[in-house]
């Protein structure tokens, strides 16, 4: 009865991701960009929900919408808005950009089209326990490496902003 809902929401989220993502790149107003980026992340979270990965969806919103977008806005507020900046910087780069996009986009498209494994929604209990198990067994080394990287960034930020007179 509600079978049409899933493709409908998939289309909605896909439009949201692509449209808002394109707008982030093309728009000039930086607050609008930040908000649209939040929308892109929220739509990504919706995609994860459709795949039955509600924990990942919630973490996506918690970290990307709630923290990273805010940090970017925080940076924007400390930056003087300047009208010329971007145009000069990006003027000469169209051919190079096109080449880079092709190199990345072609394998991604190929991979996406050759992928036929149907998604089976996870069993009762959600994706929380499988996620935790794989994070702390199979992927514990990358997890630790990422945490060390973040710690180093944290310490680095503190060193950078520390005043000399203390």
């Amino acid at each position: 009865m509600f079978d049409f809902l899933e493709p409908f929401f998939f289309g909605l989220f896909a439009l949201g991701i692509i449209g808002a993502g394109a707008a982030v790149v093309t728009l000039r107003r930086i607050t609008a960009q930040a908000l649209l980026m939040a929308l892109t992340f929220a739509c990504m979270a919706g995609m994860f929900l459709l795949l039955g990965a509600e924990t990942i969806a919630l973490f996506q919103v918690l970290i990307y919408v709630g923290a990273i977008t805010i940090l970017i806005l925080f940076g924007v507020m400390f930056t003087k808005v300047d009208d010329r900046g971007y145009g000069l910087f990006f003027q000469q780069q169209t051919p190079w950009a096109a080449a880079v996009v092709l190199v990345i986009a072609l394998p991604v498209a190929f991979l996406a089209l050759s992928f036929h494994d149907p998604i089976t929604p996870s069993a009762k209990g959600g994706d929380l326990i499988p996620l935790a198990a794989s994070l702390f067994t199979d992927y514990s080394f990358p997890f630790e490496v990422a945490s060390v990287l973040l710690l180093a960034a944290l310490v680095g930020a503190i060193v950078l902003v520390k005043r000399d007179d203390q």
């Binding site: 607050t31 509600e54 924990t55 919408v65 709630g66 805010i70 806005l73 925080f74 959600g126």
Partner: protein, 385 residues
């Protein structure tokens, strides 16, 4: 065809249930805010030896209604140089996540909008989205006080999210579930979680005060320094929406505290009459709402550096220590309740005893530094002390 509750098809019931839940949430938010504003005025009046509202209706009960009508009928003022779309969107961005939080709150046995198995994570996530609206409001107002308020709130809310989540983690470790219903069911008797995990509760309480912009952490608004911060340019119903969300958030965090640490809807007589659970849940939630008002009437506002220093240097390290200790204890002991309680109460005692000492040392250092600089200035200007 399977028949769900009230003879309705289960697929339709699932949708209908959500609609009813959202409708009830709107009802609760609006009426809760009215009740809370009245309570806040009366309680502050009692604490400050005043009478409070008394002209409109019996005991001034209709005063908030009158205020609501005033706010609704006010002219919609928008300054010329505000960033229109964002200025208009900001109240909605703050309001909607708060409203969505009500869906997973367990009001009573079988009385919950949606029993998500990641309910607690859902609540945290929605709580973190509020910041976006506040920052956008501060930026779009095109006013330096609003911007300062927005910046402060970005720093404050993101920082205090960390101890807030760390406080929740200990309970989740102990109970072993993120579902609000499971957490309620895990504490049926008198041994509620607050007796076992009081330090996690203290951490969460302090962080929740900061997350909801309540005194002593209401720096983003800070009437006396920032002329109400990000709210400066707002008036009428848009302003009221910000305050509705603030009261709604207070209700949500109070409900989280009541559920996680005080047994939620459990109470005498619930097994016989399940609807009593709603009463117990409401009573427990409003006990915390009143606690927030008491704190507001008692404590002065912190300074921004004290606020951030307390979060990063005191609250987060202690909360991390608590998580480490709790995880080890839960792994080692078959029945972790007693050791967990001992460590947690020790941490609470350490926090309460330790704080005055560190504060006193800071104060002494600060005084000596001021004395030095005053002495230097006098020496330069040729004045002898």
């Amino acid at each position: 065809m399977p028949i769900g509750p009230f003879g309705i098809d289960p697929t339709i019931w699932a949708v209908l249930r959500l609609v009813i839940a959202v409708g009830l949430a709107v009802f609760l938010v609006l009426n809760g805010a009215l009740a809370q504003i009245f309570l806040e005025r009366k309680i502050q009046a009692v604490m400050q030896d005043r009478i409070g509202p008394y002209h409109t209706g019996p005991f001034g009960l209709l005063q908030t209604f009158a205020d609501a009508i005033k706010l609704l009928s006010k002219e919609d003022i928008r300054a010329k140089l505000t960033d229109a779309p964002f200025f208009l969107a900001a109240p909605a961005i703050v309001f909607s996540p708060m409203l969505a939080s009500f869906v997973v709150l367990p009001f009573g046995p079988d009385f919950v909008g949606a029993n998500l198995n990641v309910g607690l994570l859902y609540l945290t996530t929605l709580g973190s989205m509020t910041v976006l609206g506040v920052v956008i409001a501060g930026w779009a107002s095109n006013n330096k006080y609003s911007l300062m308020g927005g910046l402060r709130s970005a720093g404050q809310l993101i920082s205090y999210e960390v101890p807030q989540i760390l406080g929740l983690v200990t309970v989740v470790l102990y109970v072993g579930s993120l579902s609000m219903v499971d957490i309620t069911n895990s504490q049926p008797g008198l041994l509620v979680n607050v007796l076992i995990l009081p330090f996690a509760f203290v951490t969460y309480l302090i962080a929740a005060l900061a997350e909801t912009n309540r005194n002593p952490f209401d720096l983003p608004e800070a009437e006396s320094e920032l002329v109400a911060g990000f709210l400066t340019e707002y008036s009428g119903m848009r302003w009221a929406v910000f305050f509705l969300s603030e009261y709604g958030e207070v209700t949500v965090v109070s409900a989280i505290m009541a559920t996680l640490w005080f047994g939620g809807w459990h109470g005498p007589g619930v097994d016989a009459v399940p609807i009593l659970g709603v009463l117990w849940f409401t009573l427990k939630t409003y006990a915390f709402v009143l606690l927030f008002m008491w704190i507001r009437a008692t404590l002065p506002r912190l300074r921004i550096d004290q606020l951030m220093g307390f979060c990063w240097k005191v609250l987060i390290p202690l909360a991390l220590l608590n998580i480490l200790a709790s995880a080890v204890i839960i792994l080692v002991f078959a029945d972790p309740r007693l050791p967990l309680a001992v460590t947690n109460w020790l941490l609470v005692a350490g926090l309460i005893i330790g704080l005055p000492f560190t504060q006193r040392r800071r104060l002494l250092r600060f005084r000596s530094r001021t004395r030095d600089s005053v002495g230097l200035r006098d020496a330069r200007s040729g004045l002898s002390p």
